[in-house]
C-alpha cells in the first residue's frame, strides 16, 4: 500500500513536471493564458464592485463578504488547473483511443491522465483570487485565529473540485464524444450560480447545490463558516464531502476504465 502510494506520487510528480517544462517552451501561450486568468479575476472584482455601487447587500451579504466568496471560489475552482487539468482530456483519450496507451503503462492511470495538461490560466487566477479573498477577509473583520480553519477549508475545497471534475469528465467513458459536456456544464453552473450567496436562490436550488451537487461546500459553506454565519457544526461538512467525493471519483473512474472498449482500429 505504502509502495503503491509512493509510486503513484512519483508518477504524478514526474509527469506534472514534464508537462510543466513542455508548456513553458511556448512563452506567448504562457503569457496569454496567465493574462486571461488575471483578466477573469479583474472582471469578477469589477462585477462585485459595480454591483455594490448600486446595492447595499446581495442576499444579506456585504461587499467584503462577497469578495471573500468570489476570491475563495477563484482559488478553489481555479487551482486544479495547475495540478489536475489533464482530467479534461478524458473525452479525447476515449474518443481517439489514447487511453490504450495509458492503461498499458506500468503506472496508475488517473495520475497519468490528470497530468496530461497544465492550465496556465491558474497562474493568473489563483494569486488574484487569493488577493481578493484576503482583501475581503480584512474588510469583513475576520480574525487571524481563523487562518488554520481557512487553510483546512481551502484544502477540502481543492479535493472537492478535483473530485467533481473527475466525476463529471468520467461521464465521457459512457457518453461518447470529444466534448466533456458534463464537465462544462458543472463549470458553467459553478461560475454562474456559486459567485452569489445561496440565499438569493429559491430553496430547491439551495438544496440542490448543497446536497445533490455539493458545490456549496467548495465556496459558499466555507465562507459562511469563516464569517461566523454558519454554526461550528458545518465545519464537519467540507471534510466529509471531500472524503466522500474523492472515494466516489475513484470508484466512477475505475468503473469507466472497466467499461472502456478502446476506439478500434
Amino acid at each position: 500500500m505504502g509502495v503503491d502510494a509512493r509510486h503513484t506520487a512519483t508518477v504524478y510528480g514526474r509527469s506534472l513536471w514534464a508537462h510543466f517544462r513542455s508548456v513553458v517552451e511556448y512563452p506567448a501561450d504562457f503569457w496569454v493564458m496567465a493574462t486571461t486568468g488575471i483578466f477573469w479575476q479583474i472582471m469578477s472584482f469589477g462585477f462585485v464592485t459595480i454591483l455594490f455601487q448600486n446595492v447595499n447587500a446581495v442576499g444579506g451579504w456585504g461587499y467584503h463578504e462577497m469578495l471573500m466568496l468570489v476570491g475563495f471560489l477563484a482559488v478553489a475552482a481555479g487551482s486544479p488547473a495547475l495540478y489536475w487539468d489533464g482530467i479534461w482530456s478524458i473525452a479525447d483519450q476515449v474518443a481517439d483511443g489514447g487511453m490504450d496507451y495509458r492503461i498499458t503503462r506500468p503506472a496508475p492511470v488517473m495520475p497519468q491522465i490528470a497530468t496530461l495538461h497544465i492550465g496556465l490560466q491558474g497562474v493568473g487566477e489563483v494569486p488574484l483570487g487569493a488577493a481578493m479573498f484576503v482583501y475581503g477577509w480584512i474588510g469583513a473583520g475576520v480574525g487571524l485565529g481563523q487562518i488554520p480553519v481557512a487553510l483546512l477549508l481551502f484544502a477540502c475545497a481543492a479535493v472537492i473540485q478535483v473530485a467533481m471534475y473527475t466525476i463529471a469528465n468520467s461521464a465521457n467513458f459512457w457518453v461518447k464524444g470529444r466534448v466533456p459536456v458534463f464537465g462544462f456544464f458543472l463549470v458553467e453552473m459553478q461560475n454562474e450560480a456559486m459567485r452569489f450567496p445561496l440565499p438569493v436562490f429559491p430553496m430547491a436550488v439551495r438544496v440542490l447545490l448543497t446536497f445533490a451537487i455539493p458545490l456549496a461546500f467548495a465556496s459558499f459553506v466555507p465562507v459562511e463558516i469563516l464569517n461566523g454565519r454558519a454554526s461550528e457544526w458545518w465545519l464537519l461538512g467540507p471534510p466529509l464531502t471531500a472524503a466522500l467525493l474523492a472515494a466516489l471519483a475513484v470508484w466512477i473512474f475505475r468503473a469507466g476504465l472497466r467499461s472502456y472498449d478502446s476506439a478500434g482500429h
Binding site: F47, N54, V179, E188, A193, V200
Partner: protein, 266 residues
C-alpha cells in the same frame, strides 16, 4: 485577393450548419448554458431589484433585458470559432491557400452557417421565456422591428470579433487563452454580466467606444425604449459601421499575418 461566387458561400454555410447539427450534444448544451445563465440572472436580479429599480431598470424591464441577453448571447456564442482556429493551428490553412476561394469570406459563410444552427432553439427559448416570465413589452411596434434588425447585426459582428481573435493564433500557436480573453471581454463589456447602465461613467464610455456593447445593450435599449427612434437608428448605423471596420481591419491584419504561416511536414 481571390474571390468567389455567392453559391460557394452558401455551400460553405450549409456544410457548417450540417456539421454543427451532427454534434447534437454540443448543440443542446450551448442552449442549456444560456438557459442556466438566464435562470440564475432572474433569481439574482429579482433579489436585488425587489419592488424598486436599478440603473433605470424595474423588475419587468430587467426580465426583458435578461431574456434579450439570453437570445443575443446564444447567437453570439453559437458559431464555430474553434473550427476556424484549428485551420490555422493544424496547418489546414496551407490547403485553403491553394483553393480559388476568398479565405475570409469562406470562414464568414461557415461561421454564420454554424450560428444558424442555434437560431430555432434560441428563438423557441426566447418565446418560452417571454411566456413564462412575462417581461416588459417592447416600447412600440417600431422598437420591436428595430430590435430585430439590431439582433440580426449580431451575425456579422460575431463573425468579425471571432475571426479577429482567431487571427491571433498566427502568433500564439494556441487558441484557448485567446478565446477566453475574447469571451470575457464580450460578456463583460456587452453588458451581459452586469448592465452597462450600472457601471461607472468612465467604464460606460469605454463600453460605448468598443463594438461589444452592441451585442446586448443596444438591442435591449432599443426594445425597452431607453433611446428614441433616431437614437435607435443611429445605434444600428454604428453596428453597421463596426461590421465594416472590423471586416476590412481583418483583411489588413490577414495580409500581415499570412506572412508568418509556418507549414510543417513534407
Amino acid at each position: 485577393m481571390t474571390t468567389h461566387s455567392f453559391a460557394v458561400d452558401r455551400a460553405f454555410a450549409i456544410i457548417a450548419l450540417k456539421r454543427k447539427l451532427a454534434y447534437r450534444w454540443n448543440w443542446a448544451f450551448s442552449i442549456g448554458f444560456g438557459a442556466l445563465g438566464l435562470l440564475v440572472g432572474l433569481a439574482v436580479w429579482r433579489s436585488l431589484i425587489g419592488s424598486g429599480s436599478l440603473g433605470g431598470y424595474d423588475w419587468a424591464d430587467m426580465r426583458a433585458y435578461l431574456i434579450i441577453g439570453f437570445l443575443t448571447g446564444t447567437l453570439a456564442w453559437g458559431g464555430s470559432d474553434w473550427q476556424m482556429a484549428d485551420r490555422i493551428l493544424d496547418g489546414l490553412i496551407s490547403i485553403d491557400l491553394t483553393k480559388p476561394v476568398d479565405f475570409q469570406r469562406a470562414r464568414a459563410a461557415e461561421y454564420i452557417g454554424s450560428m444558424i444552427s442555434v437560431v430555432p432553439t434560441a428563438v423557441l427559448g426566447t418565446v418560452a421565456a417571454f411566456l413564462l416570465f412575462r417581461p416588459a413589452p417592447p416600447a412600440s411596434a417600431l422598437a420591436a422591428g428595430l430590435t430585430i434588425l439590431s439582433v440580426l447585426f449580431i451575425f456579422p459582428m460575431a463573425f468579425c470579433v471571432n475571426y479577429l481573435a482567431v487571427l491571433m493564433c498566427f502568433f500564439t500557436r494556441r487558441y484557448l487563452g485567446i478565446q477566453w480573453l475574447k469571451d470575457g471581454l464580450l460578456s463583460f463589456l456587452s453588458g451581459l454580466v452586469v448592465p452597462v447602465a450600472l457601471m461607472p461613467i468612465w467604464l460606460q464610455g469605454l463600453c460605448w467606444a468598443l463594438p461589444f456593447v452592441h451585442f446586448t445593450t443596444t438591442p435591449s435599449n432599443i426594445y425597452l425604449g431607453r433611446i428614441d427612434t433616431p437614437g435607435a437608428l443611429g445605434l444600428i448605423a454604428v453596428q453597421a459601421a463596426w461590421t465594416i471596420v472590423m471586416w476590412y481591419g481583418a483583411r489588413l491584419i490577414w495580409r500581415q499575418t499570412i506572412k508568418k504561416v509556418t507549414i510543417h511536414g513534407g
